[in-house]
């Protein structure tokens, strides 16, 4: 369950910005003497009542300190959208190393927000060197010039920026919505579109290999999932995000591939026996059709889907189905909803070999890289794949999962199907009707001296600070690990360190938009301030995603990941004891911001993703994918 952290109120009623004198940063409100620190810190061995109540209270978090009255009240973005593991960023790499805490950002860039400032301007104001967007932390040196808060370069201000559209006044650029809000959305101008916006395309690929199974329970679960899927799609058909050009295609597969011609008055089934041939479509038109035009045929097909007579060929040709879907969506991109019921056994991408014991250390890694390569092809065609695993048996999810993980899709698993049908229907409904962000790219920029070291999440990482998301999801979370370089803190203790995340996407009506989130934090030069500002919620999110990613890509074994997580909880406490001179004082002292960290790490280690032995391998794979997708998925305690 996602956390909702209560944030303390920030100072209200900002004073108007001074034009000439640089604003000063209020000193952070934590104590400066280590004795006072000892009063605030918690002895974990003695104090057992760390949680106020049992169960459902959200985990407390340390909010970023107020930055002073010179910055507007909403200058920082919502902490649920983007937060940093430390609310006072260390000024040097040495300080970061001494604290043994990870420095990073945990973000949900496309989260559904209740209020969002949308700006339509002829020119989007950006720094000419680092290309950062204008944000609440810039300084205006005169009416026509502004200084970038990331690279400290002076830039020109266009005339129209002096006009504030909300209050209809002229003259003070600090009243513009870009300067007052930490999260803004720009309507992009022409230069941000590579091609005309494509129509929203939905392709459904359904595995029907279990429908004709001799085991009645298995056949019943297969029919149950087909019923749930077709009912949900019928219900959501009119609410699919997109304009009048929205397209839909349906593919089903068992041992052969079945395509459906939907542009006549009635749907007709085409079976494609040739699996290994090159994936040319049997007919150029009729397979991917506009929903508005061919609605009757689509509705008829969906209603009859659970009772349809499929050609009885055993096996599961997942690779061919994916290749055909990729071919259909090549020019427009879009979303592929893939339902898998059994292990792929024929055609390209067939998996074979023993299932492996579940306590095997290598159990999280894929057996072949066919699906990863296919995922990268889908990414370049802007096609995102969501995987729903609906089979009761072993589907080797760990090998098939990369198709979703690298194309910004999500993995769901429903092992107990006729009972889980409601959950499948509601998840699928959310998937179909949630907000759409096609052809998206996400880039993170940091102040001078700080840089992005690694990017974690369900996306394709094109460069260290750039991720490609064929379809951005409001539920997706990303973790960014940051590194402190040489130029950090040279601007002085009064300048905030600014992190900016920008997501460029195509909305449901075909408009290109840029959502920008900015976070400004003070610099810490002393170890006590670093510990006082650490935030356990962001830290656990970052660690969980790093751990899941390492196992999925095969970079480390399960036991190594578990050890690393335990060290991640133990090392900061040891460093804190060293820093505040409490070694040997008896008890285990922890700064208030991370007092729940050991408890959270223990809970994470019990999660199926990191547990040493789970009932089914697929369960571990699905749990790993979920942790990778959704920062903050650590269990509620």
């Amino acid at each position: 369950m996602p956390f909702v952290a209560p944030t303390p109120p920030l100072p209200v009623g900002p004073m108007p910005r001074q034009m000439t004198s640089p604003p000063t940063l209020q000193q952070p409100q934590w104590s400066t003497a280590s004795a006072q620190h000892r009063e605030n810190s918690v002895n974990l061995l003695r104090d057992r009542q760390l949680l106020r109540t049992h169960g459902s209270e959200p985990i407390e978090t340390v909010a970023p300190p107020p930055l002073g009255h010179s910055f507007p009240a909403e200058a920082n973005c919502n902490p649920d959208v983007m937060s940093c593991t430390m609310n006072a960023v260390p000024a040097t790499a040495e300080l970061l190393r001494r604290s043994r805490l990870p420095l990073g950002l945990a973000m949900h860039p496309f989260k559904d927000l209740r209020s969002l400032a949308i700006i339509q301007a002829n020119v989007i104001v950006r720094c000419r060197d680092c290309r950062a967007y204008i944000n609440p932390f810039v300084r205006f040196s005169s009416q026509q010039r502004w200084r970038c808060s990331l690279c400290f370069l002076d830039n020109d201000l266009p005339e129209e920026f002096l006009y504030d559209p909300i209050s209809q006044t002229y003259g003070d650029p600090s009243r513009r919505p870009e300067i007052r809000n930490g999260t803004v959305e720009f309507i992009a101008t022409q230069e941000y579109s590579v091609r005309p916006p494509p129509p929203a395309t939905y392709i459904l690929a359904l595995d029907v290999s279990q429908v004709l199974s001799p085991d009645p329970a298995v056949a019943k679960s297969a029919t149950a999932y087909l019923t749930a899927v077709s009912q949900t799609l019928l219900r959501c058909l009119d609410r699919l995000p997109g304009d009048t050009r929205t397209q839909l295609a349906v593919i089903t597969f068992n041992g052969v591939l079945h395509l459906y011609k939907l542009d006549g008055p009635r749907p007709s089934l085409l079976a494609m026996p040739d699996l290994d041939g090159d994936s040319d479509l049997p007919m150029p038109e009729g397979l991917l059709v506009t929903v508005a035009e061919c609605r009757d045929a689509i509705v008829e097909l969906l209603e009859s889907l659970p009772e349809l007579e499929f050609p009885a060929v055993p096996g599961c040709c997942l690779g061919s189905a994916l290749a055909i879907a990729h071919r259909l969506a090549q020019s427009s991109g879009g979303r592929l909803l893939l339902f898998l019921a059994s292990r792929p056994s024929v055609g390209p991408g067939a998996l074979s070999g023993p299932a492996g014991s579940d306590s095997d250390d290598l159990a999280g890694q894929p057996a072949t890289d066919y699906y990863k390569r296919l995922a990268l092809d889908c990414c370049s065609a802007q096609l995102s794949v969501d995987l729903f695993c609906v089979g009761p048996g072993h589907t080797d999810l760990a090998s098939v999962m990369p198709i979703a993980v690298y194309s910004s899709g999500r993995v769901h698993r429903y092992p107990h199907l006729p009972d889980d049908a409601d959950r499948l229907a509601s998840d699928l409904g959310r998937h179909l009707t949630r907000k759409l962000g096609l052809e998206a790219v996400l880039r993170v920029r940091c102040s001078n001296g700080y840089s992005v070291a690694a990017f974690y999440g369900s996306c394709f990482v094109r460069a260290t600070d750039l991720a490609a998301l064929p379809c951005a999801s409001p539920d997706a979370g990303f973790a960014i690990q940051l590194a402190v370089g040489d130029g950090a803190g040279t601007a002085g203790a009064s300048e905030p360190v600014v992190f900016q995340a920008a997501l460029l996407y195509t909305g449901r009506k075909g408009e290109r938009r840029i959502r920008v989130h900015t976070l400004g934090l003070p610099v810490a030069t002393r170890i006590e301030d670093v510990f006082a500002g650490s935030d356990q919620r962001a830290i656990i999110g970052l660690l969980a995603q790093i751990g899941a990613e390492r196992i999925i890509t095969g970079a480390s074994r399960l036991s190594d990941s578990r050890d690393a997580l335990v060290n991640a909880a133990a090392d900061p406490l040891a460093a804190y004891a060293r820093a505040t001179g409490q070694r040997g004082a008896g008890g285990l002292w922890s700064p208030p911001g991370i007092r729940l960290l050991p408890l959270l790490i223990l809970a994470l280690l019990k999660w199926p993703a990191f547990r040493p032995s789970v009932g089914q391998l697929d369960e571990r794979a699905a749990a790993l994918a979920e942790v990778n997708f959704f920062v903050g998925a650590a269990p509620v305690i």
Binding site: T189, S193, R195, P196, P197, P199, T244, R245
Partner: protein, 215 residues
């Protein structure tokens, strides 16, 4: 085969709708798209309303009407009559559906939904039974021989050389005006110089006479 269709507003070059023919055999259309965008920026009300521009192995045909430009990119062997018939068709339908709203939109590709109609019309016009289409529409078209065929690059470069020429001409006229003023001034000074000598001599004579005879 019609490879690319674009509709844009002339005043600022804002694209309103577009449709790309994505085929395995079609070339990379990126550079032609950027050429089309440059062309939209160069066109103004005084450009010819129908024109064909060669560019590499393909030809652009465009039609301008009421501040909107309709442009297609076709292969060289595609009949010109068909191309302009297609342009007339989409022009009529676009004005019918969206004509009133064109001036007020600001975001690019606002009418991207028109792509569906463009796709259907394209299918009609690129049908292999084109001769039937030709005979049906031939009588209605204007005489396409009068439509100029030019080279695309020359059009793009022409704009630049014209503006350069314009600058030089205005510079020249201001320089010549300055030259004329300077010359008049010098002329005046030399007149003063000439008459000044004469006046001084006269004055001295007058002073001599005055002091000699009248004192």
């Amino acid at each position: 085969m019609i490879l690319l269709t674009m509709i844009a507003r002339i005043t600022d070059g804002l694209p309103l709708a577009a449709s790309l023919q994505e085929e395995d055999r079609a070339p990379n259309l990126q550079e032609y798209q950027s050429k089309a965008k440059q062309l939209f920026r160069r066109l103004n009300v005084s450009s010819p309303s129908r024109c064909s521009l060669e560019s590499g192995p393909y030809i652009f045909h465009y039609l301008m009407d009421r501040g909107i430009c309709y442009l297609i990119l076709v292969e060289k062997n595609f009949s010109k009559r068909l191309a302009f018939a297609f342009l007339d068709d989409i022009q009529a339908e676009f004005v019918n559906q969206y004509g009133a709203k064109v001036e007020s939109v600001t975001r690019p590709y606002h009418f991207i939904e028109f792509e569906q109609y463009i796709k259907k019309a394209r299918k009609n016009y690129t049908d292999s039974r084109a001769s039937r289409n030709l005979s049906q529409i031939g009588v209605e078209l204007q005489d396409v021989q009068r439509i100029m065929v030019e080279n695309m690059d020359e059009v793009l470069a022409r704009g630049e050389s014209l503006t350069a020429l314009d600058d030089k001409a205005s510079h020249l006229s201001s320089l010549s005006k300055k030259y004329r003023d300077d010359a008049a001034y010098l002329n005046l000074r030399s007149v003063y110089a000439k008459y000044a000598v004469f006046c001084i001599v006269l004055l001295l004579l007058f002073a001599y006479v005055y002091f000699k005879f009248l004192w």
